[in-house]
């Protein structure tokens, strides 16, 4: 069993997290290495278009770079990062902004780039990408508040108290939002299935 996957960390993230667990204070580079994938995938799940995720991830870490000294480690770093990422996602969605990809000298990344084909069989990668895409579509049917709770609970697998801490909301609010989010997610999935049933010969 891949123990890293059990806690939602990729191997790279886990290795970096180990370095963070050393007696040293985290450098910005360590924070980046430990959490860049978390930030990227969270942006995608929060509705930032694929083509903007690279820029948005950079923007999140520019904020982190500027504010790292303000971070108060009473709570996990990941929670603080999530709040920054969530605000950035809202900003990107609201403004619908898209910078010229050539501005930064690299090409945009689309869905096909997401699955790491070097590490997975093509079938696995395709299945995961397809499932992730469907989940993202369904998530867009939730409002921001429920979407955030659902992502943290069901995809990042945080506990309810951790979610309350990450979002700085009461614990009971987490429970109620998660309950409604699950219902709405299930309903959205059901609607997704219905046309397929009708289309079958």
């Amino acid at each position: 069993m891949n123990r890293a996957a059990e806690v939602g960390f990729t191997a790279t993230e886990s290795a970096a997290a180990v370095s963070l667990a050393s007696p040293a204070l985290p450098t910005f580079a360590e924070v980046y290495a430990a959490h860049v994938r978390f930030v990227w995938r969270t942006l995608r799940r929060l509705g930032v278009p694929d083509k903007d995720c690279d820029d948005a991830t950079q923007d999140v870490f520019l904020v982190v770079h500027r504010k790292l000294h303000e971070f108060r480690p009473e709570a996990p770093l990941k929670h603080w990062l999530f709040r920054i990422t969530s605000r950035m996602a809202r900003d990107y969605r609201r403004s619908g902004r898209r910078k010229d990809p050539t501005e930064h000298g690299f090409l945009p990344v689309d869905s096909s780039d997401i699955a790491d084909l070097q590490q997975q069989s093509p079938i696995d990668a395709a299945e995961r990408s397809a499932a992730a895409r469907l989940i993202r579509d369904l998530l867009q049917e939730l409002d921001d508040a429920k979407r955030e709770v659902f992502i943290l609970a069901e995809l990042e697998q945080l506990t309810a108290p951790e979610i309350a801490q990450a979002l700085e909301i009461p614990l009971n609010t987490v429970y109620s939002r998660l309950r409604r989010a699950r219902q709405e997610f299930e309903a959205a999935l059901e609607r997704q299935r219905e046309p397929q049933i009708g289309e079958s010969p």
Partner: protein, 248 residues
Amino acid sequence: MNDLRPSTRALLDLGRLGDDPTDAAVGQNRSALAKKLGVAALGASAVAGSTSKAVAAVSAGTWTTLKTALLCGVVMLGGAVTWKVVGQRPAPAGNGSSARPATPAQPARPAQPQVVTPTVAPVETAAPAELSAPGEAVTPATRSAPSARPAAARSIKDELELVRAAQQALNRNDPKAALALLTEHAQKFPSGVLWEDREASRVFALCRLGNAAGARALADSFVRRAPKSPFVDRVRTACREPAPASSR
């Protein structure tokens, strides 16, 4: 609380890692970010200012809290995954000689990464009556003022520490230590907010110890007590799950 259907859970398990960027995309991102920060590479020299401020702002004691929190996500990796433990302190401003490499070594991933739920799925548990009042959530703000901190919030934090420690013990394949911690939790917080996590973890620990009969009995009791718990499926099949890879 309403749980998701098994088929929905399967979808989430399958797609959970499907949103991660590729290593190549991360490399591009890192390079572009370094360019924006005006440095050649994303190493400690790029962030000496932020880091030195962080060093000043973060006391050794509070850093321990951060370590603990981060360790919650750190478990032993088996197979081809290589641990990389780097304990260097941040470089002083203008001196990048002791900094970590700009691009941390990428440990090899298993050929077929598994998408599995955590040993103890960290999902919500039923809120006990004493936590029903809004505004009692554990927030950094409440913790920063211990004298004004509500007792409920304090107990949640204490509960969380015990359950997390137990989960870490399970993750390092030390079910005896996990059981001891869970017993301590049961004594201190018999009806705590994390009681479902505790009982589910006990089932997993008993399985790891080879006590399948005890695990089944406890699982049956758990299901009777919390038939809608999100842990129900996992405790029912707990003893069929493979043990974690032994430590490094």
